[in-house]
């Protein structure tokens, strides 16, 4: 049962990623393929006992980041001729060949790893456990994340907002 789920979600994640990169005509479809990939990844997280991270993945990536991408695509109306030429056969060939070679290499190593999974407590990956770690051991990264978010909002407003008058 679990292996079936793993293969279904893995193929969905990889297929969504391929669809995103491979959709040439309409950027909206690329973004929707990305949603497929993100949802499949969230399911894989949940299979790895990371329930909270999986739900956050859906909330942040599928619910906010891809929506922002779609907004920008609609905002700029990127469906017609603004796209420009994308023909670069040599670059395409070299890129794909390189990626396939590296993936096969990595696969030959990674697929042979046979480390046993440890038993984890039922608490593992729950919101409470994440909270305890985040607010004690990882306090400084948490505060720095707040600073980063502030910087992001200031920068984005400065870039996109035009002064009136």
């Amino acid at each position: 049962m679990e292996s079936i789920l793993f293969w279904v979600f893995s193929i969905a994640a990889i297929g969504g990623a391929l669809g995103m990169v491979g959709t040439l005509r309409n950027t909206v479809y690329s973004a929707l393929w990305l949603v497929v990939s993100m949802l499949a990844l969230a399911c894989l997280f949940i299979m790895l006992n990371a329930q909270f991270v999986g739900l956050i993945q859906i909330m942040v990536y599928a619910g906010a980041i891809v929506v922002l991408f779609l907004f920008v695509v609609m905002l700029l109306n990127l469906t017609g001729g603004v796209m420009g030429a994308e023909e670069q056969p040599l670059l395409k060939f070299v890129g794909v060949a390189l990626a396939v070679a590296v993936s096969l290499q990595l696969g030959s190593i990674l697929l042979r790893i046979e480390l046993p999974w440890p038993e984890v407590s039922p608490e593992y990956g729950t919101t409470a456990e994440i909270g305890r770690a985040l607010y004690t051991d990882y306090l400084l990264p948490f505060e720095v994340a707040g600073v980063l978010l502030l910087a992001a909002i200031v920068a984005a407003l400065a870039m996109a907002k035009r002064e009136r008058g």
Binding site: M1, E2, L5, V28, I46, M47, F52, I56, M59, V60, G63, A64, I65, V67, L68, F71, V72, M74, L75, L76, N77, T79, G80, T127, A128, I130, G131, R132, L134, Y135, L139, F142, E143, A145, G146, V147, L149, L150, A152, I153, V154, A156, L157, A160, K161, R164
Partner: protein, 117 residues
């Protein structure tokens, strides 16, 4: 994994209900076709408009605010769950984070990014 059986059942039931309703309407529903019924419902507007038209950039401002404060909420979920265990310490460590994002909100307000026009 077995604790997700209920979720799987729920999703199967949801999909089944939708499929059942679609099949039932296509089998049982009466068919009356005329030109006005076949066009998409557009409230009297001309239906022949491309759905891809430029949105005003105002929507982007809302989307940026949403994404940043969405992340804030993501960090506050675990805080809310362990709040009683942490006690005053929890309030103390969350205060800098929250004030940082309050500054972000105040900055947006000052720049007028929260106003629609």
């Amino acid at each position: 994994m077995s604790e997700y059986a209920g979720l799987g059942l729920f999703m199967a039931l949801g999909a089944g209900t939708i499929l059942l309703l679609l099949v039932l309407t296509s089998v049982l529903g009466p068919r009356l076709r005329f030109a006005e019924k076949d066009e998409p419902f557009e409230c009297g507007e001309s239906p022949l408009v491309s759905p891809y038209r430029r949105f005003p950039v105002k929507f982007y401002m809302v989307a940026i605010s949403f994404i940043i404060f969405d992340l804030e909420v993501v960090f506050l979920y675990p805080w809310a769950v362990v709040f009683r265990d942490l006690g005053w310490y929890g309030l103390l460590v969350a205060a800098p984070f929250l004030s940082m994002l309050s500054i972000a909100l105040a900055y947006e307000w000052m720049k007028g990014a929260l106003e629609w026009d």
